[in-house]
Symmetry: C2
Subunit: 126 residues, 2 copies
DNA sequence: CTTGACCCTGTACCGGGGTACAGGGTTCAT
DNA sequence: ATGAACCCTGTACCCCGGTACAGGGTCAAG
């Protein structure tokens, strides 16, 4: 963890403004450390910093907050699912193209470039 | 397609500077249109604009270019594969957490928040 | 008591892929 | 001949998640 990043989180409202020592240094409590760990884990689950801020504000609510958290999680899962499908389509298309690179070296004309250049998908809107 | 985007591609070196009419308007040839379509398709395959610029510069080379293109495609496929695996891990972890939201409404304490807060992965470096 | 390693604030910058002005010129239909 | 709807250049800005200064204060070891 970079100190600049901690201050950035403070600016973004993810971390509360910490108490200061007499000379003005930030004195982080163990609660702040826990919050930072929470942030990092939530990031690994694909939440954006804005969403994490929302989660943190919900964290002390009751059953209603619980519902909100659950629906945020559901939205994230759906979004992850969409992105996975997209990336798989890219990988498959590109893998298929690369598989066509099989002519002997002397008579090549790069099938990948030709395929990207020619293979217009249906309904393309330029 | 936005006109600003075309100029942006021109600045980035993806499109050659087009000829101008007497009054200075850009006169795009059909070759330029084909290039733009190429760019859009390559983007859909996950290439960055820098990579696409490289592909375009390679597009008129011979067998050696073909090898370069093939290795770029291979690198992209590997990268896509890595990203897919990451997103799947996120989706699975978050889906599992959401599955634990099952207590009756009155006695909830948001298991998702608790799990994110407590479930430290091994080898975590803050 | 100096030197080096930290901390502070404030502001600017990175990369990626564009988008949005401002302040002008042109073209075309009415 | 005039108004809308385009085009031009140049520059600045957007989001996102930080990172990097500059110009100063503080703290602990030697």
């Amino acid at each position: 963890m970079n100190t600049e990043t901690l201050r950035y989180y403070e600016r973004r409202g993810l971390l509360p403004e910490p108490d200061r020592t007499v000379s003005g240094y930030r004195a982080y409590t163990s609660a702040a450390v826990r919050t930072v760990r929470f942030i990092k884990r939530a990031q690994r689950l694909g939440f954006t910093l804005d969403e994490i801020a929302e989660l943190l504000h919900l964290a002390d609510g009751g059953p209603d907050s619980c519902d909100s958290v659950r629906s945020m999680a559901g939205a994230r899962v759906a979004d992850l699912e969409r992105r996975i499908v997209e990336l798989q389509a890219m990988r498959d298309a590109l893998g298929r193209l690369a598989g066509t690179c099989d002519k002997p070296r002397e008579q090549r004309e790069c099938p990948i470039l030709h395929a990207i250049a020619l293979d217009a998908p249906p309904g393309e809107t330029l």
